[in-house]
Amino acid sequence: MRHLRTMLLSLSLVLLSACVTINVYFPAAAAEKAAEQFIGTVIGEAAKDAEIKPPPRPPQAGLLDFFIGSAQAAEPDLNIQTPAVRDIQARMKQRFDSVLTKALAAGSIGLTRDGLVAVRDAAAVPLAERSGLNQAVAEENRDRKAVYSEIARANGHPEWEAQIQSTFAAQWVQQARAGWYYQDASGAWKQR
C-alpha cells in the first residue's frame, strides 16, 4: 500500500513537472551528448579509445543533415556547432595539447566543479612556466564560459546556461584521464 502511494505520488509529480515545464524543458540527454562530443574532441583520445570527431559538414549536405537531425530529435536537440563555437573548440583543443593536458597529468591544475579549470598546485610548476600556465587557465576559462553561455543562447534559452555548465562539468570529469584532479560537489580535490 505504501509502495503504491509512493508510486502514485512520484507519478503525479512527474506529470506535474512535465506539465509545468513544457516547452522550457532542459534537454538533459541532448546536452550530455553534446557535451560528451565537444569535450571528447578537446581532450583528444579520452577515457574512450577512439577520438570522437564531429562529422564533417560539407556545405551541400546541409539539408540532408537537417532531415537526419529531425528524425533523431525525439526530444529538443541542442545545437552547439555554430562556426564561432567550433573555432573556440579548435582553440581549446590546441591549448589542451600544448599546455593543459600536461598540467592536468602533473596535478598542477584540476577540473573544477563548475566546469572550469583552476590552478591546484602552482608550487609544482617551475616558476618560469607558472605565469604561462596562469594565462592558459585564464584563457581556457574565458573560452569555456563563452561556450556555455553561447550554447544556451544559441538554443534560445539563456536561462539554461547554469544547467549547461553543470552538464559540461560532469562530462569533463567523466572524460578526465586517470590521475587528473577534479573537484567533488563540496569543492574538495579528488583524483581520477
Binding site: 551541400q60 539539408l63 618560469a128 605565469s131 585564464a138 534560445g156
Partner: protein
C-alpha cells in the same frame, strides 16, 4: 633575518673573547648583557689538555635577543689553546641549538688572539664567518664578514614570520662593522645571489634574484632599517604579477620600521631607468588576509611600452590583452587604504594603445585626470587624436572631467567625429568603487553618420544614407552592454530603426550583438542595386526581430521582408528569389518564355526566414504547409514564385545569395 645568525655569532665571539684572557681559570656568570642581548649561565673553563697544553671550554645555557625574537640554547665551544709568539690560537668545534627541539648546529672555528685583538673564524661549508677586532683597546671595533651563507639554513627562522614559505635558496654575504654601543647604528653591506623562494600556494615565488645593497639598522625601540640597494636580474611572481628584472641598475631604497602589528615601509624608491620609477610608502601586515593595509603611491612614471612589457605583461595576458601595443608616458599617483582605492590621478603624454586583433585603438591620448572617493578633486581633461572601435574610426576629441564623491563625471557634452557625423557623449559617469553593474552610466547620441563610409568601414556593399539615434541610457554589467533607446538609419529612401541593442563580451571571447530591426518604405531599386541581386522596384517594409550576431555572424533572427504595393522585378531577381525559395519555380510560364522578358510586374512580394540552429525556416506571403508564395505576379506575363523548401540550411542560403550576387548560376539542392 640574517641578523639572527649574525647576532648569535657576535655574542659567541664576545663571550669567547672576554674569557680568552682569563687563562687557567674557571669563571661563571649568571647573566651578561650587551647590545640588548642577554646571555645566561655562562661558564668558562680553561683546564689541562692533551700534550701539556690547555683546553678552552665555553658554555652558555641560553642566549636571548628579544629585539629580533631570537632564542638560542645550549651553546658550547671547545678548542685546544695553542700559544704562539705574542698570540694565542684556538681551533675547534662549536655547537648550539636554534630552537629547543631542533638538532644542534655545529661549526668549526679558529680563534686567534694577537696583541690583544681577537680574530674569530667560523666555518661550516660552504659558509664562512669572520669576526675580527680592529683598533686599540679604547675604541675597539668589530669587523664582520659573512660569505656564502645558504639561505635555506635560515628557512625555519624565516618561516616563523612567513609561515607560507615552503622553500628558499640562495646565498648571502655580509660585510659589517659592529657598532660600539647597542644604540649606535649598525651599517652593513649585503648581497644576495641566486635568491629563489616559493610559497605553499605557489602564488609568491622568485628565482635567480640578485640583490645587493647597504643597510643601516638603528637598534632603538622601535628599530629602524634603511635600505639602499640594487636588483640585478632574476624573476619574481606575486599573484598574477610576473616580473623579469633587468640584469643591471634597478634601484630599490626604503626605510622599514615596525608599527604595532605591522611594518611601515617609507621613502620607497624603485627606479628601473627608462622604464618605471616609483616613489611610495606602505603599511604591510604579513599576518593579515590582505597584507597591504595602506599604500601611497606618491609618484609613478611609466614609459610605454617598456613598462608594459616588464611589469604589466603578465596581468594583461591574464585579462586577455596580451597583444596590446602601447607607446607614450604615464605619470600617476594613488592612495589605497583599508577601504580600497581612495584616490588616483594620472597624467598621460602621447599615449597610443592598439589591439589590432579586436580592432580597438587610440592615438595621441593626453591629459590629466584625478578621482577621489570622497570630496572633490580638481577638474581634469583628456584628449586624443584618433581612435578605433571595432574598426570604426573616431576622430579627435577633447573631454573635460570632474570628480565628486567617488564619481568621475564628464563635465560637458563632447562630440567625437565619426564618419562624416559624430558620436556625442551626452553624459558619462564612472564610479570605480560601485557595484559591478553601476560603475558606468552613460548617454550617447549618433548624428549624421555617413552610411557610405560606414558600410565601407565594415566591409559591406557600399550604400548611401545617414545614421542617427540616441541611446539615453547605457548599462554595463556582467560583460553585457545594454543600450536603451535606438538608432535610426535614413537609408534607401526609407527608414530603418534599430532598438534593443545589447552587446555581450564586447571586447572578449565571442563578442555578440542582439538587436531588433524594423524598416519601412525602403526603395527596392536602390537596395537591390547595392547588393547586386537583380533589379526590383517598389517599397520594402519588414523587420528582423531578435537578431543575434555572434562574432559578427548571424546565428538567430526572425525576419520578414515584404513589398505589398507592387512594382517590377527583373529576370535576374526572379532567379535570385527562386533560388532562395529553393525551387526556381515560376508557375505557369515556361523558362524559354521567361527569357523573352527583362522585367515582370508583381503585385506582392514577401520573404520570411526564422533562423535557428543554423537552419532558416522559410515563409513567404502565405503558406499552406509545404508551399509558400514568394512573389505574386501582376499583368502579363504573369509570374508566380513559389518556395517549397520550408527549411534551408543557413550556410546553403548564404551560398545561394552570394552566387546570385556574383552572377553565377545558383546551386539548387
Amino acid at each position: 633575518m640574517s641578523y639572527r645568525l649574525l647576532a648569535t655569532c657576535i655574542v659567541l665571539a664576545i663571550v669567547f673573547c672576554a674569557q680568552g684572557r682569563a687563562a687557567g681559570l674557571h669563571a661563571a656568570a649568571d647573566s651578561l648583557q650587551a647590545y640588548g642581548i642577554s646571555v645566561k649561565n655562562i661558564e668558562v673553563d680553561i683546564g689541562s689538555g692533551a700534550e701539556g697544553g690547555h683546553d678552552l671550554q665555553l658554555r652558555a645555557a641560553q642566549l636571548l635577543w628579544p629585539e629580533f625574537d631570537l632564542q638560542l640554547s645550549e651553546l658550547h665551544a671547545h678548542c685546544p689553546l695553542e700559544p704562539e709568539a705574542d698570540s694565542w690560537r684556538c681551533a675547534g668545534q662549536a655547537r648550539l641549538r636554534v630552537a629547543a627541539a631542533a638538532k644542534p648546529v655545529e661549526a668549526g672555528f679558529i680563534a686567534t688572539l694577537e696583541h690583544g685583538r681577537l680574530n674569530l673564524q667560523l666555518n661550516r661549508a660552504p659558509a664562512r664567518l669572520t669576526l675580527s677586532q680592529q683598533g686599540d683597546d679604547a675604541g675597539a671595533r668589530w669587523q664582520l664578514q659573512l660569505r656564502q651563507l645558504p639561505l635555506d639554513w635560515l628557512s625555519d627562522l624565516l618561516r616563523a614570520s612567513w609561515p607560507a614559505l615552503s622553500r628558499i635558496e640562495g646565498q648571502l654575504a655580509v660585510d659589517a662593522e659592529l657598532p660600539p654601543s647597542a644604540t649606535a647604528p649598525l651599517q652593513l653591506d649585503y648581497s644576495l645571489r641566486d635568491l629563489g623562494f616559493d610559497t605553499q600556494d605557489g602564488r609568491s615565488a622568485a628565482a635567480h634574484l640578485s640583490l645587493a645593497g647597504k643597510l643601516d639598522v638603528t637598534a632603538t625601540t622601535p628599530w629602524r632599517l634603511h635600505h639602499r640597494g640594487q636588483i640585478g636580474g632574476g624573476e619574481l611572481l606575486q599573484g598574477g604579477l610576473h616580473v623579469a628584472f633587468a640584469d643591471h641598475g634597478t634601484r630599490l631604497d626604503f626605510q622599514l620600521s615596525p608599527e604595532r602589528d605591522a611594518y611601515r615601509f617609507s621613502d620607497v624608491v624603485y627606479d628601473d631607468p627608462g622604464v618605471l620609477e616609483l616613489k611610495a610608502s606602505a603599511l604591510v601586515a604579513p599576518a593579515d588576509d590582505l597584507p597591504l593595509r595602506e599604500l601611497h603611491v606618491d609618484s609613478l612614471v611609466a614609459v610605454l611600452p617598456q613598462a608594459q612589457q616588464r611589469y604589466l605583461g603578465s596581468l594583461l595576458a591574464l585579462a586577455g590583452w596580451s597583444e596590446l601595443a602601447s607607446r607614450g608616458r604615464v605619470t600617476a599617483r594613488a592612495q589605497f587604504d583599508a577601504g580600497g582605492i581612495a584616490s588616483a590621478a594620472a597624467r598621460l603624454d602621447g599615449v597610443d594603445l592598439d589591439e589590432a586583433k579586436r580592432g580597438i585603438g587610440i592615438k595621441g591620448l593626453a591629459g590629466e585626470l584625478e578621482w577621489r572617493r570622497t570630496g572633490t578633486a580638481p577638474p581634469g581633461q583628456l584628449a586624443w587624436q584618433s581612435a578605433t572601435v571595432h574598426s570604426l574610426p573616431l576622430g579627435a576629441a577633447r573631454t573635460q572631467w570632474h570628480s565628486h564623491d567617488g564619481a568621475l563625471t564628464l563635465s560637458q557634452r563632447t562630440q567625437i567625429p565619426l564618419l562624416g557625423g559624430s558620436l556625442d557623449l551626452e553624459r558619462l559617469d564612472l564610479h570605480p568603487t560601485a557595484a559591478s553593474g553601476e560603475r558606468l552610466q552613460a548617454g550617447l547620441a549618433l548624428r549624421g553618420v555617413d552610411l557610405a563610409a560606414l558600410s565601407q568601414a565594415l566591409g559591406w556593399p557600399r550604400f548611401g544614407g545617414k545614421l542617427g539615434g540616441a541611446v539615453p541610457e547605457l548599462r554595463y554589467a556582467d560583460q553585457r552592454l545594454e543600450l536603451t533607446g535606438g538608432l535610426m538609419l535614413n537609408v534607401f529612401d526609407g527608414t530603418l530603426n534599430v532598438t534593443g541593442l545589447a552587446l555581450e563580451r564586447p571586447f572578449g571571447v565571442l563578442p555578440s550583438l542582439s538587436a531588433d530591426i524594423a524598416f519601412e518604405q525602403l526603395d527596392l531599386s536602390l537596395l537591390t542595386g547595392t547588393f547586386d541581386i537583380g533589379g526590383i522596384t517598389g517599397r520594402l517594409s519588414g523587420y528582423v526581430r531578435a537578431l543575434r550576431l555572434v562574432d559578427w555572424q548571424p546565428v538567430a533572427f526572425d525576419a520578414q521582408l515584404q513589398a505589398l504595393d507592387g512594382g517590377r522585378i527583373s529576370q535576374r531577381a526572379v532567379n535570385t528569389i527562386s533560388s532562395v525559395g529553393g525551387g526556381g519555380i515560376a508557375a505557369g510560364i515556361q523558362a524559354s518564355v521567361l527569357k523573352l522578358f527583362d522585367t515582370f510586374g508583381y503585385a506582392r512580394l514577401g520573404l520570411g526566414c526564422r533562423l535557428q540552429n543554423a537552419v532558416c525556416h522559410m515563409r513567404g506571403l502565405d503558406a499552406d504547409g509545404a508551399r509558400y508564395t514568394l512573389v505574386e505576379g501582376r499583368g502579363l506575363p504573369r509570374i508566380q514564385i513559389v518556395g517549397h523548401q520550408s527549411e534551408v540550411d543557413w550556410s546553403v542560403l548564404v551560398e545561394r545569395l552570394k552566387a546570385a550576387a556574383s552572377g553565377t548560376k545558383p546551386v539548387i539542392n
